[in-house]
């Protein structure tokens, strides 16, 4: 990167470090930080959407829909999340291929699951066998995002279901007394009010989501954990201009600090949002704010 980096073996500590930290591979690691941020940016709204849908389904009047919502939200309790991650990545992949197989090759008569193989016709492969590398990577990332959204959607559904139950009953009764239909009551009264009650749970969920991002590594995405292992490992002078011993400990220490700072910043921001939202609310928090101002 810098002009003096042509022969790293002659450099002393600080200059060496500045060259070392700006190599191409390190740049890839910095990019992977954005992969994590991108995952968060896509997953959070998707999980909210899944959660909202499931929470709504859980209080539906249609019995099968209610069962579906309840089953979805309660099935993640009691089972380790990482099992879900490992499960969904394969299951989703196979599910998509199976669906495409059904659509694209209707006259295929051999079984798909043969012993230990899962065989679909070539046209149904995801991504296609001749697809370029970036398609494979994007597809992997997409699967990861969907997996995160499904798992966190269930958590979010829990929080939002609770929030919907907490909205004072009298509010809904008033709406009914005004002659609003169920649908109107839901959209005009319940949904606008539930957010104050949902926010503490959702901000907790955000923290949990941040801390779940290193699991991307298990889903086969080249994320920061992958690069930290890769770059931190012992580098042989024969293959690199920057030989060093086993530095993985320092790389993971850096990741630890990164995540600590990330959660700290989120905490501060979420605190601010909560302060703003509680302003003027008839809750303990709002009351405390009013008293402090007076």
């Amino acid at each position: 990167m810098f002009s003096y980096c042509t022969d790293p073996s002659t450099l002393d500590n600080l200059a060496w470090l500045s060259c070392y930290l700006t190599t191409g591979k390190h740049s890839a690691m910095y990019v992977s930080v954005f992969v994590v941020l991108l995952l968060l940016a896509i997953t959070a709204p998707m999980a909210l959407l899944f959660g909202f849908g499931a929470a709504t389904a859980s209080r539906s009047t249609i019995l099968p829909l209610r069962w579906l919502g309840r089953a979805y939200t309660s099935i993640v309790r009691g089972v380790p999340d990482i099992a879900f991650f490992l499960f969904f990545v394969i299951a989703l992949d196979q599910g998509f291929e199976w669906l495409r197989h059904k659509v694209k090759c209707p006259d295929w008569d051999e079984p798909i699951r043969r012993g230990v193989d899962f065989v679909v016709c070539d046209a149904a492969k995801l991504p296609l066998g001749n697809a370029p590398q970036w398609v494979h990577e994007t597809y992997g990332f997409f699967l990861a995002v969907l997996t995160f959204a499904i798992v966190f959607g269930a958590f979010a559904a829990n929080v939002m279901y609770g929030a919907m139950q907490t909205v004072p009953r009298a509010q809904l009764e008033t709406a009914e007394a005004y002659g609003m239909t169920r649908r109107q009551t839901f959209w005009r009264v319940l949904v606008p009010q539930m957010w104050v009650y949902a926010l503490p749970g959702l901000s907790n969920l955000w923290m949990v989501l941040i801390k779940a991002t290193p699991l991307l590594f298990l889903l086969g995405v080249e994320d920061i954990v992958y690069w930290a292992r890769e770059l931190g490992g012992t580098q042989n002078p024969r293959f690199t201009d920057y030989p060093h011993g086993d530095w993985r400990m320092w790389y993971f220490l850096a990741l630890l600090v990164f995540y600590l700072m990330f959660t700290k910043v989120s905490e501060v921001v979420l605190d601010r949002i909560m302060k703003r939202l509680t302003k003027g609310q008839a809750t303990m928090g709002g009351e405390a704010q009013r008293k402090a101002a007076a």
Partner: protein
Amino acid sequence: MSCLQTISDYAFRSLGYGERLLPRGDFTLCQQFTLIGSGMIWNVYFGVLALLAGFFLAVTLAVGKSSANPMARKPAEWFIFVFRGSPLFIQFFFGYFLFLSLKSVSSVFDPFTSAALGALVVLFLNTSAYTAEIFYGALLSIPKGDVEAADAYGMTGFKRFRRITFPTMLRLAWPSYTNEAIFLFHATTLVFFSGFPALRQKGDALYYASYFADKTFNPFVPYPILAGYFILLTLVLIGLFGVANRRLNRHMPQTKLPRMKFRLNLIR
């Protein structure tokens, strides 16, 4: 091969007893049940030991955090912040590589690079931090009257803590502590996916489940089996902690007993 034969071969495979090689082809349901169940031994081992040891450190940390003396408060606050603010997954990695580096300094650290001890230390510290935060919250919500009554009886210092503060804290914290315990057992599945090596394929339940999923390319059998085991474990935990909860609350008016509410948010 009969199922009984399989069980005798693989029931303690996770500890290194029985058949040396894992099944290679023609996976039967029995094999999957046995091996994944065998892996649960590790999950229970990590969970129980970390929970027991973590309890004592957590009480110390919670008392430290609620102390007025900054010399006690600051370290406790930092400890809790560091372990609750960063992903357990990264903590495992860092712990493993830390122990690996320390190994070259002194042979004392040799056993720490194995999952059995190294991962246990990380889990112990992690659960201590989470539990300490729960206990700290409970300490803050102890009714003022209880402490005033203790003062009126002339109890001070350690006596007041042992007779009033500590039991009340435990009673208030118990439902959340139950969640933390369940949560910890789930977290134990991360161990063998985070640097710590599974020597001679001696792994935990998830390790074997993912082994089967990889080999058969069919996730729909091993993971539900794993889920079944964990739901069973969770039910046992809820049962045990429920007994303790009833004992902690035995002096309270029984009609007003707060229902234990299990709010699980996994992943740390």
